[in-house]
C-alpha cells in the first residue's frame, strides 16, 4: 500500500506539468519566422521604435502602394538579444525559427556571416544595385565577393560642438573643421581653460574613439587574412597616444556608463562629442541647447599616411535570412531601402535616419536647414562625409579585438607600458582565435 502511494505521488508530480502543457496555453510555435512564401507577409527582427522600426513601417507603406496585400510583422528585438537568438538558432540548427529579414550591426556582420553561413541568403543577383551604396559600407556585408546585406543607417562619424561654448573661448566651428588631432588638443585645452568645459566625453573602458581614429586612417586591428595586428601597429599606437593625451589633459572626460555619457552633453557638462551620426537624436533631447550645436568632420591623425577627417561608428544593414521568402524579401528591399527616395525623404526628418543609399542624398530633404543646429543642413554634410569614409576591415574576431584593446587602453592610461600592453592584447586575441 505504502509503495503504491509513493508511486502515485511521484506519478502525479511528473504528470502534472505534462497535463498542463497539453491542456493548452501553447501558442503556435513553429510559425514564427519567414516562410516558403505565398502569404505576402514578411517577418522582421529589429529594435528601435523611433528609428529602424519606424523606418520599416514607412517602408511597408511605400511597398504597399504597388502591393496592397503586403504586410510586415515587426518583432521588437534589441540588438544584444537579437545576437543571442541568432546564435542559439544557428547553433541548434533550428533555422526555421528565423524571420525573413533581420537588422544586423555592421561591426558584427562578418563574424555572423563566417560563423553561421547557413543562416543567411546570398542576395548578389537579386536585382539590388549595390553600386548605389558606398563601398566602405557594403564591405561590411560582403564575403568572398557575395553580398548578404542591404545597408540601412549610416554610422558616419561626426564632430558635434556647442557653438556657444566655442564662442566663449573665441572659436567658431570652422576652427574645428579639417584639423589634426594635435591642433584639436591645443584648441580644446584652450576651451577648457577659458570655459571650464571639456570638449569630449566617453565611456571608460570603451574603445569607440580609438576605433574611429583607426578607421579614419583606413587601419584596422586585423590584416586582410584576418590575423590580428595589434602589436607593432603604428596607427594604433598613434591613436592610443592621442587618446591618452586627451584624457590626461582633461579635455576628454571618461565616465562609467552609457547613460552617464549621454548625460554629459544633455546636461551641458561637456561642450561637444565625436560619434556616429545617430547620436544627433540624443543631442536633440536637450531642448534648452537648441540653436547652439554645429556639426563638422573629425580631427585626423598627424603624420599617418592615409589619414583622413572621416570615419564611422556603428551603422547597420538588413539581412535576408536562409528562412526567408527570398523573392518577396529582396523585391521589398530593392524597392524600398535600395530604391525609394520617397522612403528616405520620410524617415530622415522624423527619425534622423541618414541614408547610405547614395541617390537619396540628392533629395531636397537632406538640404533642409535645422534650427537645432543653428540653421545648418547637417544631413547634407553627413552624406558628403559618408562618401569619404575609408573601409574598415572588421573580420570574425572584431569584438574580441576591440575588447582586448579596450583593456589595454585602461592599463596604458593607468601608467602601463604601451608596447607591452598591446603585445598582451595581441596574445589575448590570438588565444581567443584558438
Amino acid at each position: 500500500m505504502k509503495r503504491t502511494t509513493k508511486i502515485a505521488v511521484s506519478a502525479i508530480a511528473m504528470a502534472m506539468p505534462v497535463a498542463l502543457v497539453l491542456s493548452g496555453c501553447s501558442s503556435d510555435g513553429g510559425d514564427n519566422g519567414g516562410g516558403a512564401g505565398g502569404d505576402n507577409t514578411l517577418t522582421v527582427w529589429t529594435w528601435d521604435p523611433a528609428f529602424n522600426i519606424y523606418a520599416m513601417q514607412e517602408a511597408e507603406k511605400v511597398y504597399q502602394k504597388d502591393n496592397p496585400d503586403f504586410t510586415l510583422e515587426i518583432v521588437e528585438t534589441p540588438w544584444d538579444d537579437l545576437q543571442t537568438k541568432l546564435t542559439t538558432l544557428a547553433q541548434s540548427q533550428e533555422l526555421d525559427e528565423l524571420p525573413d529579414i533581420l537588422l544586423m550591426q555592421n561591426n558584427a556582420f562578418q563574424k555572423n556571416l563566417i560563423n553561421y553561413p547557413d543562416a543567411f541568403t546570398d542576395i548578389t543577383d537579386s536585382g539590388i544595385d549595390f553600386s548605389q551604396f558606398p563601398q566602405a559600407v557594403t564591405d561590411y556585408s560582403t564575403l568572398d565577393g557575395s553580398h548578404y546585406g542591404v545597408p540601412f543607417d549610416a554610422g558616419t562619424a561626426i564632430g558635434a560642438y556647442r557653438t556657444d561654448v566655442l564662442a566663449e573661448a573665441g572659436y567658431t566651428i570652422d576652427d574645428f573643421t579639417d584639423i589634426t588631432w594635435s591642433e584639436f588638443q591645443t584648441k580644446a585645452e584652450d576651451v577648457l581653460a577659458k570655459t571650464g568645459k571639456p570638449l569630449l566625453s566617453g565611456q571608460a573602458g570603451s574603445s569607440d574613439m580609438i576605433m574611429m581614429m583607426l578607421q579614419s586612417a583606413g587601419a584596422s586591428l586585423f590584416d586582410a587574412e584576418g590575423n590580428p595586428t595589434i602589436a607593432d601597429n603604428s596607427v594604433l599606437e598613434k591613436a592610443i597616444e592621442v587618446y591618452t593625451k586627451l584624457v590626461k589633459s582633461g579635455v576628454f572626460v571618461e565616465v562609467n556608463s552609457w547613460d552617464e555619457y549621454i548625460s554629459t552633453f544633455v546636461n551641458g557638462s561637456v561642450g561637444g562629442l565625436i560619434n556616429g551620426v545617430w547620436i544627433v537624436g540624443s543631442i536633440q533631447t536637450a531642448d534648452d541647447q537648441a540653436g547652439n550645436w554645429a556639426v563638422t568632420n573629425l580631427p585626423k591623425l598627424d603624420g599617418v599616411s592615409g589619414a583622413t577627417n572621416y570615419s564611422a561608428n556603428g551603422g547597420s544593414s538588413w539581412v535576408v535570412t536562409s528562412n526567408a521568402d527570398v523573392d518577396l524579401a529582396t523585391d521589398f528591399l530593392a524597392k524600398t531601402f535600395a530604391g525609394s527616395t520617397e522612403l528616405y525623404d520620410t524617415i530622415l526628418p522624423k527619425a534622423g535616419a541618414v541614408a547610405n543609399w547614395i541617390p537619396a542624398g540628392d533629395s531636397d530633404v537632406y538640404g533642409q536647414a535645422l534650427d537645432f543646429f543653428g540653421g545648418q543642413a547637417i544631413f547634407a554634410d553627413v552624406v558628403a562625409f559618408g562618401a569619404e569614409v575609408p573601409s574598415n576591415n572588421t573580420g570574425v574576431y572584431y569584438y574580441e579585438g576591440r575588447d582586448a584593446v579596450s583593456a589595454a587602453i585602461t592599463k596604458i592610461i593607468g601608467g602601463a607600458d604601451l608596447k607591452s600592453s598591446l603585445e598582451e592584447a595581441q596574445a589575448t586575441v590570438e588565444f581567443a582565435m584558438g
Binding site: T5, P17, S27, G29, K85, T88
Partner: protein
C-alpha cells in the same frame, strides 16, 4: 533600556540608519525618476516632477504593458505553484523515505547547480522547438519547476520534521499522500513561503531564456519590455524608470507580504 545602554547603541543605530538610506536611495530615485522627464532624470533631479502621466502615456503607447504583465504573472505564478508542488514532494521524499541510491541521486541533482544556464540553452531550445513550444509561456515555466536549490531547501527543512508525527499518523491509518498533504504541508508553511518568494522572484526576473524562446511581441515579459525601452539610439529615461517601477512592484509586494515567513523558512523554523 537605561540611558547608558541607549547611548552605547547610538553609533550602531546611526550606522544602520545611514546604511538604510544608501539601500533605499536607488528605490527612491526610481520612484522620483518615473515622475520626471528624461532630461531631468539625466540631470539627477531628486525631487518629484510632473511628468508621471506623460511618461505613463508614452510607455503605454510604445509598449504593450498589459500583455507583458499578463505573461510575467502567468509565468511567475505558474512556475511558483508547480515548483512548490514538485520540489516539496521531492525534498520530502528524499528525507523521509529510505533507499540506497538516494544520496547519490541527490549528489547528481546538486551537481546540476554547477552547470551554467548558457551551456544548456542550445539543447533546451532544440527540445522545445521539437515540442512545438516556441512562443509558449509553458516553455519558460517547465524548465523552472524543478530546481536543485528548492529540492535542497525542502530536504533540509524536512530534517526538522519530527519522525514521531509520521509514525503516529501511519498508525492512525493515514496513507502517505494524506500525511504529506494534511500534516507535512501545513507544518512546513514557513518553508513554502520562503521557497515561494525565491521562485516567484527568480521567475519574475527571468530574462535570458524567455528572450530566446518567446519570439513574438505578444508573449514578451516585463524584463524584455524594459530591455526594449533601452535598446534604441535615444532612451527616454523617465519612461524607463516608470517601466522599472511597474516591473518591481509585484516582486516587492510578494516579498513584503511573505517577509516574516520568508525569514522563518530560510532558518528552517517549524511552527
Amino acid at each position: 533600556m537605561t540611558k547608558t545602554s541607549t547611548l552605547r547603541a547610538a553609533p550602531g543605530y546611526a550606522f544602520l540608519g545611514i546604511w538604510t538610506l544608501f539601500s533605499l536611495f536607488p528605490l527612491y530615485f526610481m520612484v522620483v525618476g518615473s515622475t520626471n522627464t528624461s532630461q531631468d532624470v539625466l540631470g539627477s533631479r531628486l525631487i518629484p516632477g510632473g511628468a508621471f502621466f506623460e511618461n505613463l502615456a508614452k510607455l503605454f503607447k510604445a509598449q504593450d504593458v498589459g500583455s507583458a504583465l499578463f505573461s510575467s504573472f502567468f509565468i511567475a505564478v505558474g512556475t511558483t505553484v508547480l515548483a512548490l508542488i514538485v520540489c516539496s514532494i521531492a525534498g520530502y521524499g528524499f528525507e523521509v523515505y529510505h533507499s540506497k541510491g538516494k544520496d547519490r541521486v541527490m549528489a547528481v541533482i546538486l551537481l546540476a547547480m554547477m552547470i551554467p544556464f548558457a551551456a544548456t540553452m542550445i539543447p533546451l531550445f532544440q527540445v522545445f522547438a521539437k515540442l512545438g513550444l516556441v512562443n509558449s509561456l509553458w516553455a519558460v515555466i517547465i524548465p523552472a519547476i524543478s530546481t536543485p536549490l528548492l529540492i535542497l531547501l525542502f530536504r533540509q527543512s524536512s530534517r526538522a520534521f519530527p519522525s514521531e508525527i509520521l509514525e503516529a499518523a501511519r498508525m492512525d491509518g493515514l496513507n502517505e499522500l494524506s500525511i504529506f498533504a494534511r500534516i507535512y504541508v501545513p507544518t512546513m508553511r514557513a518553508t513554502f513561503a520562503a521557497a515561494g518568494v525565491i521562485t516567484f522572484m527568480t521567475a519574475w526576473n527571468n530574462f535570458l531564456w524567455p528572450r530566446v524562446i518567446l519570439i513574438k511581441n505578444e508573449v514578451q515579459t516585463m524584463p524584455m519590455l524594459i530591455s526594449n525601452l533601452s535598446a534604441g539610439y535615444v532612451t527616454d529615461y523617465g519612461v524607463l524608470m516608470l517601466a522599472v517601477l511597474i516591473a518591481s512592484l509585484p516582486a516587492m509586494v510578494v516579498f513584503l507580504v511573505l517577509q516574516r515567513a520568508f525569514a522563518d523558512g530560510i532558518v528552517g523554523a517549524i511552527k
